[in-house]
Amino acid sequence: MLTEAQAWQALDAVEDPEIPVVSVTELGIVRDVILGEDGLRVVVTPTYSGCPATEMIAESIVDALKAAGAGKVSVETRLAPPWSTDWIAESAREKLRAYGIVPPQPALPDGAQVVRFMSRKLPCPRCRSSHTTRLSEFGSTACKSLYRCEDCREPFEYFKPI
């Protein structure tokens, strides 16, 4: 039988399948771990409604907890409050940068207006130049947008704030 602290520790080792340098706890998607009579309940929140990694993450969570000695494990989804990139741990930000993904800036407050052609001058994660251009609002996954560095000419991704 695992304690709650041990369960959290096991979850620290579960990586996001799309960004395998950041754990699900650092990403802020594990909202609660509840030790009950019917086993261990892990409450997660999705990053995006259609994120295809959600089911894989749930499976990895169950596998990791069972490997750590948990008995019955269930994963449930909680939508409210909705996940925000502001919940990504500080520790994950440098890891993202080293992996080639610029970490998110603070999310827009609710009710904020959409600004047209808001091209953020993001620093290139490789050469640090801020001479960069956004190629697309959407990158290889819904949570990232695609940029190019005009100095080192390398493409890079930006974890967009939501």
Partner: protein, 258 residues
């Protein structure tokens, strides 16, 4: 959503949620048809990602509709085993794809509506729906921004891109009338605090849409009495074909998993 799992005794409530779910599903399906066919790779990714957001929203909404109904129908049953006349999406969602400008104009008109809709639904008396709305609102901002940028680029672009954007706007504009139409279902849902009266969104929608179209140097067509009735279950000839593609696999191989 275990804590909020309860059926609704109000049939208008169920119908209302079904409409939201169908709008997301059918728009998502149309966007997904672009996968592998977009004019540039970046847009292929963007369209597929937006399609995923809409299908994800549809899953949450249809699951919720199934719970409200309380007859054991889940998201898959509702998505794959209903017939054309049982769908409740606005006709605009089912209009077939033509060119890229058409998809961006449609995405922008719908996306601007969704932004207002989700922001109002965050205050729904249905707590599960309010949670879905808060989640979807964040995604809708990116959809509206992305499609809005393209509307400006295409409209205020080359002669050819302008011509295509204007043709798409002329073609799709009359279908936006339906977004603000209501029948007793909508009135009952609005009275119960489930969601806004659609006519209340019309003014804010125009305030959001018109400046962008102007910036894009596009001419806004005059309003006409043209009215479509998709959300009341009377669809264009296009929905059946879309469903044939979307439902083919689960109908041919019931219960298939992989």
């Amino acid at each position: 959503m275990g804590a909020t799992a309860m059926t609704s005794t109000n049939p208008a409530h169920l119908e209302y949620v079904l409409r939201l779910g169908d709008a997301a599903l059918i728009h998502g399906q149309r966007l997904s048809e672009w996968c592998g066919q977009a004019p540039v790779l970046e847009e292929d990714l963007a369209l597929a990602n937006m399609a995923l957001d809409f299908v994800g929203q549809a899953r949450m909404l249809l699951s919720h509709a199934g719970t409200l109904e309380g007859k054991g129908r889940d998201e898959d049953t509702l998505a794959f085993l209903r017939h054309e006349g049982q769908y409740r999406n606005p006709t605009l969602c089912e209009m077939p794809n033509t060119d890229f400008a058409h998809t961006m104009i449609k995405g922008f008109l719908l996306g601007s509506f969704n932004l207002l809709m989700w922001s109002r639904l965050c205050g729904s008396s249905d707590k599960a729906l309010a949670a879905i709305a808060a989640k979807s609102l964040k995604e809708a901002r990116y959809h509206a921004e992305h499609t809005g940028d393209w509307v400006i680029r295409l409209g205020d672009g080359t002669e050819e891109s302008h011509r295509r954007a204007q043709a798409a706007l002329d073609m799709l504009w009359p279908y936006t009338n339906e977004l603000f139409a209501a029948n007793p279902t909508d009135d009952a849902a609005a009275a119960a605090g489930v969601g806004p009266a659609w006519s209340d969104l019309a003014e804010d929608w125009e305030k959001a849409v018109l400046p962008v179209l102007k910036h894009a140097t596009l001419t806004v067509p005059a309003r006409t009495p043209f009215q479509t009735y998709g959300k009341f279950g009377r669809h264009s000839e296009h929905l059946g074909h879309l469903l044939a593609v979307m439902q083919h696999l689960p109908r041919s191989f019931p219960g298939a998993t992989w």
